[in-house]
């Protein structure tokens, strides 16, 4: 599903060149739930933005769902992002002046679905996250946990092949975090491929496999997949 080989990403100024990722290789198979961990500044978020086609890389190869993304133009990257990737952000990133259903509608509009198809998908994804009754609410009227569920519904609405989550529980209290994590696990059991960036080892345990990044390099790639922790496991 996601395969990066000897990938590098450097940020350059006139006087200094800083590598965020160096000789970075990772392979996430279809249906896997992978946690990417590491200390602050290790390159976790850079990995995620490159994986999500939000940022270019300098060297190496990146294959997403079998397609080499190097050299794709903005249109092609945007289409690939829209069709194959769902994002879940730490800060939820809902658009404040759109209500719940309009927020979920955003990627579907860019996909070019007609009105009936969009309504069906919005309804289904809201039911999936248990927020059907809140479709007309605005983000400010929802709790943090509910906002993150809306963000997950938005990510799911386009039926992506890959879910990328950046600290999805980072802005939530323990109870809400548990609910969101349960939802991610449920999605994984239903076949979703999930890559979750987190600096919290407790969260990483809930994933099927953990990839640890230090200074832009994978230092510990668990060879054998862990068993999925039970759905009712505690944080």
């Amino acid at each position: 599903m996601l395969k990066m080989t000897h990938l590098s990403k450097a940020y350059r100024t006139e006087v200094v060149e800083t590598y965020a990722l160096r000789d970075f290789s990772i392979h996430v198979r279809e249906g896997e739930f992978v946690a990417v961990t590491g200390p602050s500044g290790s390159g976790k978020t850079t990995f995620l933005t490159i994986a999500g086609l939000l940022e270019e890389f300098n060297g190496g190869e990146y294959q997403l769902d079998g397609a080499n993304v190097r050299g794709l133009n903005d249109n092609q990257r945007s289409r690939l992002r829209n069709e194959k990737i769902g994002f879940i952000f730490q800060a939820f990133n809902l658009i404040s002046d759109l209500n719940v259903q309009d927020n979920i509608d955003v990627p579907l509009r860019y996909r070019g679905f007609n009105g009936a198809e969009r309504r069906r998908r919005i309804q289904e994804s809201l039911e999936r996250v248990g927020l059907s009754a809140r479709s007309r609410h605005y983000p400010a009227e929802l709790s943090g946990g509910q906002q993150q569920r809306v963000a997950i519904a938005r990510a799911l609405a386009g039926s992506p092949r890959l879910l990328l989550a950046d600290e999805p529980t980072g802005n939530l209290d323990t109870q809400m975090a548990r609910g969101v994590l349960d939802l991610l696990e449920e999605l994984h059991r239903d076949g979703a491929t999930i890559v979750m960036v987190t600096h919290d080892p407790e969260l990483a345990i809930r994933a099927q496999r953990e990839v640890h990044i230090v200074d832009g390099q994978v230092v510990d790639l668990t060879a054998q997949p862990r068993l999925v922790v039970g759905a009712n496991a505690q944080l």
Binding site: L54, S78, R81, N93, D97, V106, R109, Y110
Partner: protein, 440 residues
């Protein structure tokens, strides 16, 4: 997607009402100022007879020579804008143009047959019958007088619809008599609405004013010794006293127009005019080489400075002001868009390509422009009221604001705002989603 972007634009504008109102105000004020002056400019610079302006030619003959000053400011050719009676008759008798007319402004005291109406003054134009076909004058009743009427100095007149309404209650007055200066003239035609602006055929007096209320044969006016009510210039040499003295003098007081439909006609007439002036030199009347000129109606308006310099300056100033207003609007739009960089980053992450963001922001700019245009229309109406106090009455009369002007104002506002929005929109389309999302 247009309706989607349009809805997003309305939501975005409601999000920050103060900023939105500031942008609309900036554009509205600029549009109001520029449209106010443009309305006057367009009316003054408009082609008064667009279908024939390249076929109608004003004739100039230098009958004063290089020693006398010209009467047209800035005329480096030292040519007089009018011609003398001897030249008018000389040209008419030559029949060198398919249609031609000498003409001059005069006037009468009109005594209505209706005893309830008091006598009043009317402005008249003495001309040849060709003038009606040359200038495409529309008729409500009857038509022009005949060439025979010209030759016979007939007591006939063509009157305007307005005068017909006043004197004959709008009825068909063809065949009825009109008492002018205690002499009866037969009405042969009633014109329909006809008001070329500027009054291109005689720009010497009240160039933006109304056309004359009646027309009569030039030959009849001369025979009746009807004096000129227009501009008369003798450059210090007024000739012998009396009417005959005036007719034989080199005073200039007559306008001369010729209709020359083809370029061959124009070339032929130009040669004729030069030969005419050369003949005058040979006969001893002119002791200088032939110096003549013909100009079509558009060239004539430019030559005669029919567009006031102050209006040109006002247009320039107001469009500069519009430019400054647009720069302000651009700054405000930039601030607004950069304030939404986070949302744009999210949209990019969710699959919007640069073109989609560009379209969304540009449509938002268009909506702002449209609202600015509406405000600009209201301010234009106010501006035109103010302009009437600033400019002369004859210019004020031109300040009509029609459907065309409304369309121009709205289109100008939308187009200008979209133009001003290009840079902020380009910035929006190039928002780096990764950076925005990391920042959040």
């Amino acid at each position: 997607m247009f309706s989607y972007y349009f809805t997003l634009a309305l939501r975005s504008l409601k999000r920050n009402v103060v900023l939105t109102l500031l942008m609309i105000a900036a554009i509205g004020v600029g549009i109001g100022a520029s449209m106010t002056t443009l309305t006057v400019f367009r009316a003054m610079a408009g082609d008064p007879i667009p279908e024939k302006s390249t076929q109608l030619f004003s004739v100039q003959i230098d009958n004063w020579g290089p020693s006398k000053k010209t009467v047209v400011t800035g005329d480096e050719e030292h040519l007089q804008p009018q011609i003398s009676y001897p030249d008018a008759i000389g040209l008419m008798n030559a029949h060198a143009a398919p249609r031609q007319s000498a003409m001059y402004a005069t006037g009468f005291a009109l005594t209505p047959s209706n005893p309830q109406l008091l006598p009043f003054q009317v402005h008249a134009r003495a001309a040849y019958t060709d003038v009606f076909r040359m200038f495409d004058v529309p008729f409500r009743f009857g038509g022009p007088w005949s060439s025979a009427d010209d030759e016979n100095r007939a007591d006939v007149v063509v009157i305007t619809r307005e005068l017909n309404d006043k004197v004959f209650d709008g009825s068909n007055s063809v065949g009825k008599m009109l008492n002018l200066d205690n002499h009866d003239y037969r009405v042969v035609g009633v014109m329909d609405q006809w008001q070329p602006i500027p009054k291109f055929y005689d720009l010497n007096n009240d160039k933006y004013g109304k056309s004359e209320q009646l027309f009569l044969p030039f030959t009849r006016a001369i025979a009746g010794e009807m004096s000129s009510w227009g501009n008369n210039n003798c450059a210090g040499d007024i000739g012998a006293p009396g009417w005959q003295g005036r007719l034989h003098s080199e005073c200039i007081w007559i306008q001369f127009w010729a209709e020359l439909p083809t370029t061959a006609d124009v070339d032929r007439y130009r040669r004729f005019l030069n030969n005419y002036a050369s003949d005058q030199q040979r006969s001893g009347r002119f002791n200088w080489p032939a110096h003549t000129r013909i100009r079509d109606a558009r060239q004539w308006l430019v030559y005669q400075h029919a567009i006031l310099d102050e209006v040109r300056i006002l247009v320039l100033v107001s469009f500069s002001f519009l430019f400054v207003c647009l720069l302000n609007a651009m700054g405000l739009m930039l601030a607004k868009i950069l304030g939404r960089a986070g949302d744009i980053g999210v949209r990019r992450a969710l699959g919007a390509n640069r073109r989609a963001i560009f379209s969304q922001c540009l449509i938002e700019a268009g909506v702002i422009g449209f609202a600015g245009g509406l405000l600009g229309l209201a301010l234009t109406a106010l501006g035109l009221v103010g302009l009437r106090a600033l400019l002369s009455e004859e210019v004020s009369r031109l300040t009509h604001f029609g459907l065309m002007d409304i369309s121009i104002a709205i289109l100008l506002a939308v187009f200008a705002t979209i133009l001003a929005g290009l840079y902020p929109t380009w910035r929006a389309a190039h928002v780096q989603p990764a950076w925005q999302l990391k920042a959040q």
